[in-house]
């Protein structure tokens, strides 16, 4: 049942065409931020308007959509966006990573390996990886043109000199196909290695900043580092209290006033797909 009075996918066909053209350029320019005529959406900027516009432009009646926020399908924003697409497209939705053809995400890459034919759509708040070092867009544009990423290397170098390691724990910058420095969106650095040579197509939408970018399948995505200080993805050194996983990214739950903590998988579908620990073991 599609919401009356709105086109399939909410966006009008002209807007979709404009976004589709931007997407094709983005795929041909891995990691390069393509400016696009981002529209006002019925959800606020910051809630995923870029990802929503990308999804709305690629989604079709045959697709199965999964939406996650913080890795989970049941977080409020994920529920809201899933409902939105259900209202404006009527397409099937799923919580199972393997069943989805399109996965829209905020802040995580699913734990399950993605396959060819799937599209991962990231919601991006700040597409410019250099913005904390150089907020002027005219300047960063020049830096990308010249592949001049000295600022970022200096920052990393200073981090290592002062703290012995990079201080960036999420939104850790990557170099795509050896050319463009790219923000992987605020995913934990733990997820960065998953972007490298991923069989699925990765699309990134930044609505407020009006940029779209992409990583084609099987493309080299390298987290910036130095030979003597290789990139180190981090996760809590614990096991999920529900499924016992030691390989997944974990959320920390504070369970009482005394500050007692539990850890659970952030990827709820991954957690549910594993046999639960017996009560006693938990």
């Amino acid at each position: 049942m599609i919401e009356a009075g709105y086109n399939f996918g909410y966006l009008d066909e002209n807007t979709k065409r404009m976004i589709r053209r931007a997407l094709l350029q983005a795929v041909a320019l891995p990691g390069y931020q393509v400016p696009f005529g981002s529209r006002e959406m019925p959800l606020p900027y910051g809630w995923g308007t870029g990802g929503i516009q990308v999804t709305a432009s690629i989604i079709g009646a045959d697709d199965t959509l999964k939406v996650i926020d913080q890795g989970a399908d049941d977080t409020t924003n994920a529920v809201s966006i899933r409902r939105f697409f259900n209202r404006v497209t009527g397409v099937a939705t799923t919580e199972h990573t393997a069943e989805a053809t399109i996965i829209q995400t905020r802040h995580r890459v699913p734990e399950a390996k993605l396959r060819e034919g799937q599209v991962l759509v990231y919601q991006v708040p700040m597409p410019e990886p250099l913005f904390r070092l150089e907020p002027r867009v005219a300047e960063t544009k020049r830096m990308h043109a010249l592949a001049d990423y000295g600022l970022m290397h200096v920052k990393l170098y200073e981090d290592i000199a002062q703290h012995g390691a990079a201080t960036t724990s999420y939104n850790y910058p990557v170099l795509v196909n050896g050319r463009y420095l790219m923000s992987p969106s605020p995913i934990p650095a733990f997820d960065n290695p998953k972007l490298d040579m991923m069989p699925a197509l990765q699309l990134f939408g930044a609505g407020r900043e009006k940029r779209i970018y992409a990583v084609p399948p099987y493309t080299e995505v390298r987290s910036l580092d130095f030979e003597d200080h290789p990139f180190q993805p981090a996760r809590a050194d614990a096991a999920c209290v529900i499924c016992g996983a030691r390989d997944s990214y974990l959320d920390e739950l504070i369970v009482d006033d005394g500050g007692k903590r539990h850890f659970v998988c952030s990827d709820t579908d991954y957690c549910a797909s594993r046999p639960p620990l017996v009560e006693a073991a938990a």
Partner: protein, 354 residues
């Protein structure tokens, strides 16, 4: 005709009569009552209380009505009123930790003691105009009610502080300065700038807070916690020597958790930005917390190069009653000065032509 003529008295009288008539709108429609404004335009009332720095829903609603919905004008009306009020003392500090929660969310934890309470929020609504609201509705079905959860709701920042990851604030028993009585004297202490921000313009703080997120004064913020609800206001009359309850007010509090790289004397840790406003004013409380953290750059030994980190820039320009006054005063006659400019320009041109 726009002429600052003598006999402006009649012109002013007529203008005010016209304003009155315009404010009322079509007399065939029922007049809006102050109670309706207070009940149905509650967020406008909250904003006017915050920026008018006077907690009185009825007066704020009256100001909104009188200002025809111009909220800066309404805040101005309320400020002009509050300044006439006799002051009989200062309340005890309110305890937001004991707030009767209507809404409490943390973006930094999936779950925490006391839980996430969404409350009456637009956050996850789809912004599609609801034409059903254009028609008069009979009655709104009451929202489902649960049993209040008695679990205490510790502050997220406190949980982090217990682990040693949150920088402790320096406490002080000193009487805080009072912005409404003494002018700002730079550099100002945090207590003074928080006062200024609490009654600062929401739009200005929003823009400034936003700029810190876009690289102009980095603060890597996370919304550690936002809570909104009623707190008790207590007052200790000197003749009694113990606190008595005056009543309850609704407040919105925001604690931003920000990264801090550490310094020579301190390890890397989280720091906080703080926002507190009258009523339900989340956008304002969050923006305030971002700007508060920006203003702490100097204290934390960070470079001060962005607008949101400059005390003078932020505090001299965040007050919308001051700002609107000076911007709008350009409407007043300036023809004496302008005349001298005219003459100067003409003589310079003549000089250049020679």
């Amino acid at each position: 005709m726009y002429v600052a003529v003598k006999g402006g008295e009649r012109a002013i009288g007529n203008a005010h009569a016209w304003l009155d008539e315009t404010r009322r709108g079509d007399p065939a429609l029922p007049e809006l009552s102050v109670e309706q404004v207070e009940q149905q335009l509650g967020l406008a009332v909250d904003r006017v209380m915050a920026e008018g720095s006077c907690h009185d829903r009825g007066l704020a609603a009256l100001a909104v009505k009188q200002a025809r919905g111009d909220l800066i004008e309404a805040a101005f009306l309320l400020r002009a009123y509050r300044t006439t009020l006799a002051r009989f003392g200062a309340s005890e500090p309110v305890e937001t930790g004991a707030m009767r929660i209507q809404r409490r969310i943390s973006a930094t934890y999936k779950d925490l003691p006391g839980g996430q309470v969404l409350g009456p929020t637009y956050d996850y609504t789809h912004r599609l105009l609801d034409f059903a609201l254009a028609a008069e509705r009979e009655a709104v079905a009451p929202a489902p009610e649960g049993v209040a959860d008695p679990t205490p709701m510790p502050r997220v920042t406190e949980l982090l502080a217990k682990e040693g990851l949150m920088r402790r604030e320096t406490t002080s028993e000193a009487e805080p300065p009072d912005l409404t009585r003494d002018p700002l004297n730079f550099p100002v202490p945090r207590a003074a700038w928080l006062q200024a921000l609490a009654r600062g313009d929401e739009g200005f703080l929003l823009g400034l807070g936003y700029s810190t997120q876009r690289g102009y004064g980095n603060s890597h913020p996370f919304a550690g916690e936002i809570r909104m609800g009623e707190v008790t206001v207590e007052f200790t009359p000197p003749e009694l020597g113990f606190a008595i309850e005056l009543g309850e007010i609704v407040l919105t509090e925001c604690q931003m958790v920000n990264q801090f790289a550490g310094s020579k004397s301190e390890p890397p840790q989280f720091t906080r930005g703080y926002g507190l406003v009258f009523g339900h004013g989340e956008r304002k409380a969050m923006a305030m917390a971002l700007v508060d953290r920006g203003l702490r750059a100097e204290e934390l030994g960070e470079p001060v190069d962005a607008p949101a980190q400059s005390q003078e820039f932020v505090l001299y320009h965040c007050d919308n009653v001051e700002a609107t006054g000076f911007v709008e005063h350009l409407k007043l006659p300036h023809y004496v000065d302008f005349q001298s400019e005219l003459e100067k320009l003409r003589s310079l041109r003549q000089e250049a032509g020679r």
